[in-house]
C-alpha cells in the first residue's frame, strides 16, 4: 500500500505547481478554500463539445418563451456572423487529499457555457471510449458524484479506495523527498486524469533542469 501523509501531499502539490508553471500549464492553488484546512489545486480546460446530443436546458425552453427575443440588431458588416454558436464544455479538475484513504483524490465538474452542470451520463459521453472499460472494470475506482469535501457542492469523483494499492504497483519504493513525492502525484494523475479528459504532459516526468522552455526528450 502506497499512501502519503497530508504534509507529503502538500509538498507534492507545491512541486507539481512549480512544474506546471515551468511548462506553462495552468494548474493553480485554490487560495479561497485553502484556509479551510485542506489544500486544493485545480485546473480548468475548455473543450468543444463532441456531439450535439445532451442539448442543455431542454426543459427550460418553455419558460424562456416568455422572454421575448429582440429584433435582429441591424446587421453590421464587420461582425462575423455565426448562426449556431459552437457548443463547448468547461472542465474543472481539483486535486485534494483524502484523509481516510491517505491518497490524493481527483474531483471534477463540467459545465456548459451557461454554467449548467453536465449530468453523469453526459460526463460518460465525454469519456474516451478506450478509457471506459477500465473504469467499468473498476480498476481505477468508480466514477461517482459526491459532495466536494471543501466546497460542499456536487462534484464528480474518481473513488480513491484502490489508489493506494495501485500506487504500490507503480512505485515499488515509498515516495520520499520533494522529487519522489512529485513523481507520486504525477504518476497518480497520469492514471486517473486521462479517463476523464485530463491529459498530462509527459514533460512532468522529465527531469527538468534548464530554465529554458522546452521539453527535454
Amino acid at each position: 500500500m502506497a499512501t502519503i501523509t497530508y504534509e507529503e501531499f502538500k509538498i507534492a502539490c507545491m512541486e507539481f505547481l512549480e512544474s506546471s508553471k515551468k511548462l506553462e500549464d495552468t494548474w493553480k492553488l485554490r487560495t479561497d478554500i485553502q484556509d479551510k484546512d485542506g489544500l486544493c489545486i485545480h485546473k480548468m480546460q475548455c473543450i468543444k463539445r463532441k456531439s450535439s446530443v445532451g442539448h442543455e436546458n431542454k426543459t427550460v425552453c418553455k419558460n424562456e418563451e416568455q422572454l421575448k427575443e429582440e429584433e435582429e440588431e441591424s446587421s453590421d458588416p464587420s461582425v462575423l456572423e455565426s448562426h449556431h454558436p459552437t457548443p463547448f464544455t468547461t472542465y474543472d479538475y481539483h486535486i485534494v487529499y483524502s484523509l481516510s484513504h491517505s491518497v490524493p483524490v481527483l474531483y471534477f465538474n463540467a459545465w456548459h457555457a451557461s454554467g449548467q452542470l453536465l449530468t453523469l451520463d453526459e460526463v460518460w459521453e465525454g469519456v474516451e471510449a478506450t478509457h471506459r472499460e477500465p473504469i467499468l472494470n473498476n480498476k481505477w475506482g468508480t466514477l461517482t458524484q459526491t459532495e466536494h469535501p471543501l466546497l460542499g457542492r456536487p462534484y464528480f469523483q474518481l473513488h480513491p479506495c484502490n489508489t493506494a494499492k495501485l500506487m504500490a504497483q507503480v512505485l515499488p519504493q515509498p515516495a520520499t523527498g520533494p522529487a519522489g513525492l512529485k513523481m507520486y502525484l504525477t504518476s497518480w494523475l497520469s492514471m486517473f486524469g486521462p479517463p476523464v479528459g485530463l491529459e498530462l504532459s509527459l514533460c512532468y516526468f522529465a527531469d527538468y533542469q534548464s530554465t529554458q522552455s522546452g521539453c527535454v526528450r
Binding site: D32, L67, L80, P87, S114, S201, C203
Partner: protein, 599 residues
C-alpha cells in the same frame, strides 16, 4: 456611399481588393461556481439594489482550434482578489441585476447597451483606456435571479462601435509568413518575460534587426513616430481570443476604435499583430497568430466623430437569436433536489459494487401501506425510506402518548403535548421533514376487528372504515401489518388476499418476533394448487404459504389480544431492540421478494 468611394479610391492605389475586416464575437462562458457566489451576493449584499456591480471577466489567446473565443466569468468574478493568471487577459465587466422578470424583460436593451457604450466611449476618448487597456474588453452582464426556482436569466453585451470601417487589402497572414523564426522567438520571449510591464490584452510591438520587443499600448504613438528614423516596424498588438485563420477576435474592434479616435490624424493604416500562443509540452507555438494590415478605409475628414458612433454588442443566445439566456440550476443548488440525488446516488452505489443486478426502480415504485404507526410502523417507515421507497401511507387511530417517543422513532416530546397528535399524521409529517421528496400521508382510522361487537350507533362508521381500508389496500402494492393485536390483522389479511396484494406481517413478543409474508394463492382455478406430492421437500412455493393466522403456531405467544389481559399484556411489552430487528427483517423481506422474477 462615402465608404464605397473610399474603397474605390483605395483600389486606385493598386494595393488589392479592399475587404471589410470581420471580427469574431465573444461567446460568454459562465462558471457553475459563479452562480453560487452570485446567489450569496444577491442575498447578503445586493438584496433589492439594482446598482451596477463590477465583475471581472477574462479571456485567453491560447485556445485550441475549433473553440469559439470565450469571455470567461469565473467562480470568483465578483470578488476577484487574485491577479489574473498567466496567459489570461482581464476584461472589465459590469453586472446589473433586476429584481423581477418583468423588469428584466421590459428594460430597454438599447438604453442598457448605450449606457455601457458611453462609458467605453469616454474611456477611449479621455485616454483612460490607454492607461488601462482592459477597459477595451469591457462587457455588460444583465441578470435576473429567480432564487426560489434557482433559475438565472442573463444576457451579455460586448459593446463595440460601428466605427471605424476597417478594411484590409490583402488577406491576413500568419505570423511565420511575415516574421522570421528568430523574430518569433524574440517576440515570445518579450511577451512572456517583459522588461516593461504591459497589459497582456493590448500592447505595442516593435520589430528591428530581427529583435522584437513588447511595449505598453500607450507608447504606440511615440514608437511609431520614431520608427521611420530607424528601420523599425511598429505593430498594434493584442492577445487574440479568436482561433480562426482570417478573423481576429472582438477585442480588436475597440482597439481600432481607439486608434481611429486617437491617432487617425497622423495614421490611417495600422499593422496589427493578433498574437495567439499555445503551449504544448512546455513549448510555445505562435504560428497561428495573424498579421493584418488594417486600413481605416475612410476619408480622414470623416474620422474623429464629435458624437459617439452607433454601438452594438448584445450576444446571441444558444439558438442564434438576439435574446437572453436562462440556466436552471435547481438540480445543483436546490437543497431538496440535492437531497434527492444524494439519496438516489447512495442507493446506486450498492449496484456499482455489491449487487449490480439490484433493481432499485421496482423498490422505489412500490407503494407501501403501513397499518399501524407505532413502534413497528415508525421503524419500518424509516427502513423503507432508506431503500428509496417514496410512496408511503400510514394508518393508525391512536394519539402519541408520553411513553411513545423513546421507542417510536418518528415522534418527539412535542407530539405528546395537549393530549397528543394523531400518530398517523405526526409520523407522515416527520417523514417529510426527514426527506422532503417523500409522498406520504397519514390516515386516522381504526381497523374493524372480528369479535368486537358493533353497536347500532357505530355501524355506519365501521362500514365506512371497511370501505376506506379496502380502497387503501387497492391503491397500494405492499401491505404491512404492524398492529399490536391479532384481531386487527384479520380484515386486512382477508382484503389483501382477495386483492392479490403482497401482505407482510411483523409481530413482536417480549423477546421474540415474527416476520412473514402471506401466501398468494392463484385465484382463477383450484387446479393451480399443486398436489401434495408435487411439493419439493426443501422449499414451499409461494402459493402454498399461509397467512399469519394459518401460521399461528409460531406466532409469539405474548402478542396481546386486548381482552382478558392485564395491563402489561395489553401493551406490547417487548425488548426495545426487538422492534428494530423485526422492522429490519420485514423491510429486507419486501426488497428480496421484489427482486424475485415471480415476485
Amino acid at each position: 456611399m462615402a465608404t464605397r468611394e473610399g474603397l474605390a479610391a483605395g483600389m486606385d492605389h493598386g494595393r488589392g481588393e479592399p475587404t471589410i475586416l470581420q471580427f469574431v464575437p465573444f461567446s460568454s462562458a459562465v462558471d457553475a461556481g459563479f452562480w453560487h457566489h452570485f446567489t450569496l451576493l444577491k442575498l447578503d449584499v445586493l438584496q433589492l439594489s439594482e446598482q451596477a456591480v463590477p465583475v471581472a471577466g477574462s479571456y485567453t489567446n491560447s485556445d485550441s482550434p475549433g473553440l469559439p473565443p470565450r469571455l470567461h466569468v469565473e467562480y470568483d468574478a465578483l470578488e476577484r482578489k487574485r491577479a489574473p493568471s498567466k496567459g489570461s487577459c482581464r476584461a472589465s465587466g459590469t453586472l446589473i441585476n433586476t429584481n423581477t422578470i418583468e423588469e428584466f424583460r421590459n428594460h430597454s436593451k438599447q438604453d442598457l447597451l448605450k449606457a455601457s457604450a458611453t462609458t467605453l466611449w469616454e474611456a477611449i476618448t479621455s485616454g483612460q483606456a490607454l492607461q488601462d487597456p482592459s477597459l477595451l474588453a469591457s462587457f455588460l452582464m444583465f441578470t435576473f435571479a429567480d432564487l426560489k426556482k434557482y433559475h438565472f436569466y442573463y444576457w451579455f453585451a460586448f459593446p463595440a462601435f460601428t466605427y471605424p470601417k476597417a478594411v484590409h487589402r490583402k488577406p491576413p497572414q500568419t505570423l511565420p509568413d511575415t516574421f522570421t523564426q528568430r523574430e518569433i522567438s524574440s517576440l515570445l520571449a518579450s511577451y512572456t518575460c517583459p522588461e516593461v510591464e504591459f497589459d497582456p490584452g493590448f500592447f505595442s510591438v516593435t520589430k528591428c534587426d530581427e529583435e522584437c520587443t513588447v511595449h505598453p499600448l500607450r507608447d504606440y504613438p511615440d514608437l511609431r513616430a520614431a520608427a521611420h528614423k530607424s528601420n523599425k516596424e511598429v505593430y498594434l498588438g493584442l492577445s487574440d481570443p479568436s482561433t480562426l485563420p482570417s478573423n481576429p477576435g472582438w477585442t480588436l474592434r475597440n482597439l481600432l476604435t481607439l486608434a481611429a479616435v486617437k491617432w487617425s490624424k497622423q495614421w490611417q493604416n495600422y499593422k496589427v499583430l493578433c498574437l495567439r500562443v499555445r503551449t504544448r509540452n512546455g513549448v510555445q507555438d505562435a504560428s497561428h497568430s495573424l498579421v493584418v494590415e488594417v486600413d481605416m478605409g475612410e476619408e480622414p475628414s470623416l474620422l474623429q466623430p464629435a458624437e459617439m458612433p452607433p454601438s452594438l454588442g448584445w450576444e446571441k443566445n444558444e439558438r442564434g437569436k438576439m435574446g437572453p439566456r436562462m440556466v436552471n440550476l435547481s438540480a445543483n443548488m436546490d437543497p431538496t433536489k440535492l437531497a434527492e440525488s444524494a439519496v438516489d446516488l447512495n442507493l446506486k452505489l450498492m449496484r456499482w459494487r455489491v449487487a449490480p443486478q439490484l433493481d432499485l426502480g421496482v423498490v422505489q415504485q412500490t407503494r407501501c401501506l403501513l397499518l399501524g404507526a407505532g413502534t413497528l410502523g415508525c421503524a419500518v417507515a424509516r427502513c423503507l425510506m432508506g431503500w428509496g421507497v417514496r410512496n408511503l401511507t400510514l394508518v393508525d387511530s391512536a394519539k402519541v402518548s408520553y411513553s411513545n417517543p423513546v421507542r417510536q422513532n418518528l415522534f418527539t416530546f412535542n407530539d405528546c403535548l395537549n393530549g397528543g397528535r394523531y400518530k398517523a399524521v405526526a409520523a407522515a409529517e416527520a417523514l417529510l421533514q426527514i426527506f422532503p421528496k417523500m409522498h406520504c400521508k397519514g390516515v386516522v382510522m381504526s381497523i374493524p376487528m372480528p369479535g368486537h361487537t358493533v353497536g347500532e350507533s357505530l355501524l355506519k362508521q365501521v362500514k365506512e372504515d371497511v370501505s376506506t381500508l379496502e380502497h387503501l389496500i387497492e391503491d397500494h402494492d405492499a401491505i404491512f401489518l404492524l398492529m399490536d393485536s391479532r384481531e386487527s390483522r384479520w380484515l386486512p389479511t382477508v382484503i389483501g388476499a382477495a386483492k392479490q396484494k403482497l401482505v407482510l406481517t411483523a409481530a413482536l413478543g417480549f423477546d421474540s418476533f415474527l416476520v412473514m409474508r402471506h401466501g398468494l394463492r392463484e385465484m382463477d382455478t383450484d387446479s393451480s394448487l399443486p398436489s401434495t406430492s408435487a411439493i419439493p421437500r426443501n422449499s414451499i412455493p409461494g402459493s402454498m404459504l399461509g397467512c399469519y393466522f394459518c401460521n399461528d403456531v409460531v406466532a409469539p405467544g405474548n402478542v396481546s389480544s386486548t381482552q382478558d389481559r392485564t395491563l402489561d399484556q395489553q401493551c406490547t411489552v417487548t425488548r426495545p431492540g426487538v422492534s428494530y430487528l423485526a422492522a429490519g427483517h420485514v423491510t429486507e423481506l419486501l426488497v428480496a421478494i421484489l427482486q424475485h422474477p415471480d415476485k
